[in-house]
Symmetry: C2
Amino acid sequence: MADEKVMVIFQPSGVRGEVPRGCNIIEASRLLGVDIEAPCGEKKVCGKCVVRVEEGHFEKYNIHSSMDHVSPWKEEEEKFLNAEKREKGYRLGCVAEVIGDILVFVPEESRAGKQIVSKAARDIHIEHNPAVKLYTVELKAPDFENKIGDFERLTNALTREYGLTNLTIDIVALRKLPSVLREGNWIVTVSVWNSKEIIRIRPGFHAASYGVAIDVGTTTCAAYLCNLQTMDVIATSSLMNPQCKYGEDVMARITFHMTTPGGLKRMSDDIIEGVNDLIKKVIKETHPEKKKVKQEKGYTGPDIFKEVIKEGVVYPRLEMEDIEDITIGFNTAMHHILLGLNPEYVGLAPFPPVIHQSMDIKARDLGVGINDSSYLFVLPNEAGFVGGDNVGVLICEEPYKSDEIQLIIDIGTNGELILGNRHKLISSSCATGPAMEGAQLAFGMRAAPGAIERISIDPETLDVDYRVIGQEKSRKDSKPEDMKAKGICGSGILDVLAELYSSGVITKTGVFNKKYLKDCKRFRMNADTGQPEFVLAWKEESSIGKDICITQKDVRQIQLAKGALYAGCKLMMKHMGVEKVDKVKIAGAFGTHVDRTKALVMGLFPDCEIEAIAGVGNAAGDGCRAALLNVQKRVEANWCARNVQYLELTVEPTFEQDFSEAMQLPHMIDKFPHLQEVLPDYILEQGPKGPKFPEKN
Amino acid sequence: MADEKVMVIFQPSGVRGEVPRGCNIIEASRLLGVDIEAPCGEKKVCGKCVVRVEEGHFEKYNIHSSMDHVSPWKEEEEKFLNAEKREKGYRLGCVAEVIGDILVFVPEESRAGKQIVSKAARDIHIEHNPAVKLYTVELKAPDFENKIGDFERLTNALTREYGLTNLTIDIVALRKLPSVLREGNWIVTVSVWNSKEIIRIRPGFHAASYGVAIDVGTTTCAAYLCNLQTMDVIATSSLMNPQCKYGEDVMARITFHMTTPGGLKRMSDDIIEGVNDLIKKVIKETHPEKKKVKQEKGYTGPDIFKEVIKEGVVYPRLEMEDIEDITIGFNTAMHHILLGLNPEYVGLAPFPPVIHQSMDIKARDLGVGINDSSYLFVLPNEAGFVGGDNVGVLICEEPYKSDEIQLIIDIGTNGELILGNRHKLISSSCATGPAMEGAQLAFGMRAAPGAIERISIDPETLDVDYRVIGQEKSRKDSKPEDMKAKGICGSGILDVLAELYSSGVITKTGVFNKKYLKDCKRFRMNADTGQPEFVLAWKEESSIGKDICITQKDVRQIQLAKGALYAGCKLMMKHMGVEKVDKVKIAGAFGTHVDRTKALVMGLFPDCEIEAIAGVGNAAGDGCRAALLNVQKRVEANWCARNVQYLELTVEPTFEQDFSEAMQLPHMIDKFPHLQEVLPDYILEQGPKGPKFPEKN
């Protein structure tokens, strides 16, 4: 029975295949490669993985599907599916087990969208000193006068001409040495790693070598392909972390490891495959129009350079084997999972990681398919979940070289904080949860097409205008049916909160002000939950056939996130003994898109000059890039990881109280006198005035 | 057609299986794992791989075999198979291609015998300083006061207690760290390689770790399993080099690489598999009576030690993962083939190897299945074919620490020579060919059961007495049919030559003295070759149904070998500027079994005191063992490899003349006055007297 297979067909994709009888629908979707949202990692608490099991015989697919072909209804599903839904065949994908052939419909809101990731490379200053350096040498062919071996012939020349001594060579590179020496007619270009090991030998002269800096976020992975000699960023690319299907946050993934035999291996394999895909993507960027261009431009240079000319510029045409170095940074849990290290203990108090220090690992030992003999430099971990990504932020922003007190906030799936200057550095991690990124909200979603990204609410009429990713025009300038809104993403969340508060729809404590219920259609009580909600987009403007709302619970989630962030910053300042910071840097995609004034007003972080607030883009990724191009940055990274003082916020005695105070909106508004010029009057007084609806007849 | 499979059955083993249509019978035998002698590496020149293709329908195997099912007769086969043989279905296995189902009979003389290898470990002095050292530490469990990561917790303790700094850890070992720390309740034993890298962590206290020294000869591989702490040799084992099927000598194997696509990979895979088998064999030696003994003796100690008690002695019970270090030495060609390095150029003048210096290679990178994170230390190469095996001899015998001029002769498939003392060292390689090991003779064979190993010939009657490996009694004390002689092996060769010469059957120049033809049955002209031959064992004493003879050509082969050796030694002495050596050491199995007097008389090497001649056993293997147990010996090995002066004998102007002079038997007998006491008068006069036959009527 256990080995028996059953047929599952997913609609609307039409993907079909056999799965083991008894697996749940989410497991079936993974086996068949269908992406269904499962943010909680099958803990049955998020209710995102709703699917519909179809009844009947489907001629086209030659399948008889029936509700009897899935396991019986369970209590956990009642929280998310009412009687009507149940009647129609809706189930939670992580609960319902497949016991016979079924056809499953995945509603649009349950489909995992492809996020639009924008992690472009910033122009940062990096000293040129890559770990992999190139040396070209011309050797004499062996004769009876000098019959020394190929390797010694090469290293003797490298010593003589470049002063390199005690070189070793990787066995895979060595295997190619005899033929490459002869193919290059005894002129070769050698790639030497850390002045220690020969990792590649190419025939003839080569001026360039390449590396990739990779930033593996909980949700998004980004890669920067760099010329290790010119330091140019040749291409950038990004993709969703393939582990998202095991849970949105790291705890869900650690739980997946602890509850699923072979779970760690599966997650590790997936992210390694993701890293390979990512490298392939950036490499493909170097293949523009390819040979065609070359021929058109009449390029007749040596083919050995594998160059492509595009608009007069010569581009390299790279392959996987041309990647000779990789640096990679991630939080501690992602670090552990990718390297196949048990992440269990980093998730349990007192949260010790398996290793802090950086590692040089042969790419082949991890299954990363670049130049065979090359290494991957894994950035060191700080403490707890604060890993190499935060070290990347540190070595990129270098607060330890500054006199100014800097507060650096990296809002990813968690919030990571750095505070300090050349005298002292503190870091911490605060459980903002993924709300700031749009997750765990009723209609939250990633920054993918269909996501509402900007919202304004008329404080007088409570009329809503918004913009949707993938749509050129705003709601006001479009037909309702053209909007095709699907949900709300991270960059829209803060807007909503600020606008609802400014409009008086929610109060200082985050409670919906029910006095506007009767006058405003958008403001209503949800029939199922009995809780108030505010409609941002009507059913006819949506692609999911439903009104898109922000609920009381959503407001609470955002309050929790911003409260955690604010309280964390405050506690760090207290530890540091400072009242005010000189600079606030917001890293990550959130930092790039956030409205600085609204962030400050809503109390995301403590008081500072508005001009002192700056988005610093993907600083974690830029730090990885710095480590790729300057080997000294790797030393600096290890220094940072051991010298930043990690503050475990949750054990601080005042944290609970600070946190609950910080949840209020707007927090201590009267303490921001310098904001008077940029904020509307009604906010700077004792609170918003509330909308004025026309008197009803 | 090309993909078509045909059935081949080998008799008498009964091994059967499908092979690609068109492959030759030797290829088929390899694919099916049947060992057929093919010393020349399918160059069609040795005629050893004779097989018989059977005609008819074989009910039992349900196969119809026919001569038509192999490719037509070829000219190359005529040299080895006369018309009668041809008629009976005999073919050369390397020529005849399989084009239909066949049943093949492999005659006993074509079967590759399993050699009895005796490479026991000698008692040599080694300083204790292994590359892999053990450290046991007790750690405090993490708490909020000290929540540092597992790896840093461990290395901090290793620094504090043992002064070890800057340790790294292999990723595979790191993966086990969290569970091992907790399993051992924070007491662990760490294996550190070269004071640099952690390669293993075991829970609790461990007093022992293990390593294997391996000597890969062209023909034989030997392994010594050692306790790295006590330096005890726990077990030794040996096996035939699986590459023998590609050719007996290294040139045949290099040719196989150059003429067979994927040939290098095949040979490399085979020897790696051989190394794994060898390690398994020595490990199995530590499993005597296993658990039974343990229970009988009522052993109740910690199971963690996996010990076995046998006759009151506690033995470790090892598994592959318990092997934490390997040293390996071989000639340059075997080195290249095992490591997958192109051996082409080391076989072409001026014979540059791919690399001289030693290498540390992760065992997993070569597919050697010991402790995952461990290294293999590959001994350095000297020059030409003189590789790490000769370096092993050097670091074992240490002539560079001696005032005496030592001549060290390692007779393997080639002869490798070392001459010198603390002031100067010379090495060279001489093409003795494999004759000294019994190969390339009409009835030559390896030292396997059935081989004639000792021979004496009555100088008066030319009666022969001999001993056969595997038979307790000599010919004189046995029935003829009990002898089951199959051929003649290395240690018998020198006996034959000396005895035939002493008896006057061959002259000073190595020519058979035809005047005894008419009087002695054993001495006759071969009908096929027209050449004289001498019968050592009659058909009825043999297991191959043939008289076992030594031919004129065989005598020439031995003369060539001993001439090359003698001339090589002489030239080295000339270079060194010495007339006489103080000591002659003969390494290898040949050295162990050789009759010192006969060797000196026959002119294997230049004049010296007979007491100054010593067999030193498998010095190459002992050198590998020294490098395993004392890491300083690895430094010494690299020093030796670069500081021994390699002499290319073949380009020396007088070599040809010295060589042809040295072929005479016995060489300059009158220059050995001190031998008068041990040699019979008739040799010391102008030559042997010759037998005296009774006058015929």
